[in-house]
Symmetry: C2
Subunit: 354 residues, 2 copies
C-alpha cells in the first residue's frame, strides 16, 4: 500500500503535512513517498511533472496532492506551467473520473453567500470527466492564417468524446447515484454541440440498465442558473471535462467554504489522485493559516475509494465534523464566537478527535 | 425606421404584444412588421428561420424577438429545431456583440437566493461574443470511427477565434466599460485552451488604447465561483460565446428575477436583435401571466443602441421602475404585500406610467 505524496506549491506543503500526520496516526501501514509536482518541480527540474514523479506516481496505489500553481510561473512557456503537471498526471494515470462533492457543513452554513433556506443541507456530488474533451483534443494551437485578406493569428481547440469515453464516466455517475439519492442529472449543450448530443444519446441508452436511478438532462447554461436558483434539486450531476470544471467550481462556492471540499480522480481500477478542491492560495502560503481540512478529507476519500477502508474513512470524516462542532476554525471559515486556529493547530485538533 | 417583430414561441406572443404597445404609445414613427422564427416557423414552413423572415430581418433596422423553443420541437432533426433559427439569424446578421445586463432592482432584492448584502445594488454588464467560438466552428459532427479496435460513435466540435473576431468584441467591451465604472474583466481558460490564450494576449495588446479602463483577467472556473462569492466586484465582463452563455445565465440568476432582464445583440453598425434573457416558458404560455418587462426593457435597449434615442429609452426604463415602485408584480416576481397582475395589466401599468 504505497502513497505518492505531492505537496505541490503555495499552501500545498503546509496542508499536506497535516493530512500526512492524520494518515500516520491511523497506523494503517501505508508507505508514503514524497515527490515534486507543479511550480516547485519546474524550479527544481524544468519540468512540472518530472520523470522521478512519474515513476513514483505510476508505482503507487494512490496519489495525494496538495495544490499547484502561483503567479511566479504564469509567464513561463505553456509546457512548463504548473497546471501542465496536473493535466499530465491525470492523463498519464488515466484518471477519467473526477468526483467533487459540494457539501455544506451545518456548522458553516453562515459562510455561504446564499440564503440559509436555499443551501441548508446541500449535498451534491459532481462527477466530471477528466481525461477527454477540449482539454486534450487535437488539433489545437495558435497559427498565422490568411483571413479576410489579412494575415491574422488564429486560435483553435477541439472538443471530442468517443462513445466508450462517455459510457465509462456515465457508468461511474449512475453507480454513484445508486449509492445516494438515486437522482442523476446529466449536463450537456446538445442544442449546439454535437459532441454533447452524443453524450445525451448515450446517457439515454444506458438508463434502462439503471432503472432505480432517475435520469434527467439539463443544458449547461440552465445548470449554471439552477445551481444558484435551487441547488438542492440536485443529487449527482455528471458532465464533461470543460463544463465540469466550471460547474464544480460554481457548486463548491455555493457552500462558501471551499477550504472544506475534497476531490477524487479515479481510473478504472480505483487507483486515484486525491486533492482539495481549492487552489494553492499563494497569498497566504507559508503563514501557517491555511485550512488543511479539505486535504484531510481528500485522504479520507483515498481510504474509501482506493483502499476500500470505509471504516477508517468515516473515522477521519467524523473527526473533522467533531472539530467543527468543537468550534475550531481556520481564518477562511472563521466567524465571531468560534476559535480561530492555524493549520498546525487544526491538524492537532483532528488528531485529538480521532 | 423599420422594426422586424418576431414573437416566437411559448410566452413570446404575449410578452411581445405588450412591448409593441409600449413602442406604439411612444409614437416615434416606427414601421413594425411581424414574422415567424423558431418552432412556430417550423410548424408553418418546415424551417425555423424561413426566407420571408430572413428578408424582413435583413431589411429592418432592428429585430425585436420574444423567445423561441418548446418541448414539442425537441425531437426534430437538428436543422429544424427552434434554436437553429436563433443561431441562424445571429450569424446571418453578424450580431457578434451580445450585451446582457444583470441588474438587481431594489424593489426585487428579496427575489434573489443570495443574501441581500451580497447582491444589493448589483449591476453587471456581460459582453458575450455571439457569432464565433465552438458554436459555429467547423469541423463538427458525430461519426463512426474505429477506436481501440472497436467501431464507435465519435462526437467532435471545433472552438476557434481569429484575431479580428476577438479584437472587435473586446473593443465593444472596453467602450462599454468606459461608459460605466471603467472596470473590465476578461474571462478565459488560457491555462488549458490556446484559443483563449490568444484572447488574453489580444486583450493585453488593446489595453494601452484604453488607459482609463482597468483590465483584469479571470479563468472561467474562477469567474463562475466569484459570481457567487462576490458578484459586486464586477462591472463589465467580456468572454467568448460558450463561456458567455454559461456565465451570463449564472449572473442573471443572481438577481432572482430573470423576467426583468433584457439583452441586445449588435452588429458593427448598431443594427441589433433585442430579446429578453429568459426563455419561452412553455409551462405558462397562453395563460396571460408571463412577465413582459424584460421584453419592454429590450425595446428600450433597441431605442438606445439602434435608434440612438437615449431619451425615449430612459423614459421606458423609468416607467418600468415606476410600476415596480407602485407594487405591480407578475407571478414570477410576486411577494406578499405587492399587487399581482397578469401580462396585459402589467403592460397597462407601464403605459400609464409613460
Ligand atoms: C489548473 C487547471 C488546469 C484545472 C482544470 O481546469 O482542470 C483546475 O481548474 C481544476 O479544476 O482542477
Ligand atoms: C438557445 C441557445 C442556442 C442559446 C445559446 O446557447 O446561445 C441560448 O441559450 C442563449 O443564450 O441565447
Amino acid at each position: 500500500m504505497k502513497i505518492c505524496v505531492l505537496p505541490g506549491d503555495g499552501i500545498g506543503p503546509e496542508i499536506m503535512a497535516e493530512a500526512v500526520r492524520v494518515l500516520e496516526a491511523l497506523n494503517l501501514g501505508f508507505e508514503m513517498e514524497t515527490a515534486l509536482l507543479g511550480g516547485c518541480a519546474v524550479d527544481a527540474t524544468g519540468n512540472p511533472y518530472p520523470e522521478a514523479t512519474q515513476k513514483l506516481a505510476q508505482e503507487a496505489d494512490a496519489v495525494l496532492l496538495g495544490a499547484v500553481g502561483g503567479p511566479q510561473w504564469d509567464t513561463l512557456p505553456r509546457e512548463q506551467r504548473p497546471e501542465r503537471g496536473l493535466l499530465g498526471i491525470r492523463k498519464q494515470l488515466n484518471l477519467f473520473a473526477n468526483l467533487r462533492p459540494a457539501i455544506l457543513y451545518p456548522e458553516l452554513a453562515n459562510a455561504s453567500t446564499l440564503k440559509p433556506e436555499v443551501v441548508a443541507g446541500l449535498d451534491i456530488l459532481i462527477v466530471r470527466e477528466l481525461t477527454g474533451d477540449i482539454y486534450f483534443g487535437q488539433p489545437r494551437g495558435i497559427e498565422e492564417r490568411e483571413i479576410d485578406g489579412q494575415k491574422q493569428r488564429f486560435g483553435f481547440n477541439t472538443m471530442h468524446y468517443s462513445e466508450s469515453e462517455i459510457r465509462r464516466i456515465l457508468r461511474v455517475a449512475f453507480e454513484a447515484a445508486r449509492k445516494r439519492n438515486k437522482k442523476l442529472c446529466s449536463v450537456d449543450k446538445m442544442n449546439v454541440l454535437e459532441t454533447t448530443q452524443l453524450w445525451r444519446d448515450i446517457a439515454n441508452e444506458l438508463a434502462p440498465e439503471y432503472p432505480d436511478v432517475e435520469l434527467s438532462h439539463m443544458l449547461v447554461d440552465n445548470a449554471a442558473m439552477q445551481l444558484v436558483r435551487n441547488p438542492k434539486q440536485f443529487d449527482v450531476m455528471v458532465t464533461g471535462n470543460m463544463f465540469g470544471d466550471i460547474l464544480s467550481d460554481e457548486a463548491s462556492m455555493l457552500t462558501g467554504s471551499i477550504g472544506m471540499l475534497p476531490s477524487a480522480s479515479l481510473d478504472a481500477n480505483n487507483k486515484g489522485l486525491y486533492e482539495p478542491s481549492h487552489g494553492s492560495a499563494p497569498d497566504i502560503a507559508g503563514k501557517g493559516v491555511a485550512n488543511p481540512l479539505a486535504t484531510i478529507l481528500s485522504a479520507a476519500m483515498m481510504l474509501r475509494y482506493t483502499f476500500n477502508m470505509e471504516e477508517a474513512a468515516v473515522k477521519v470524516e467524523n473527526a473533522v465534523k467533531k472539530v467543527l462542532a468543537q468550534g475550531y476554525r481556520t481564518g477562511d471559515i472563521y466567524e465571531p464566537g468560534t476559535t480561530k486556529v492555524g493549520t498546525r493547530q487544526m491538524g492537532d485538533a483532528v488528531l485529538a478527535a480521532l
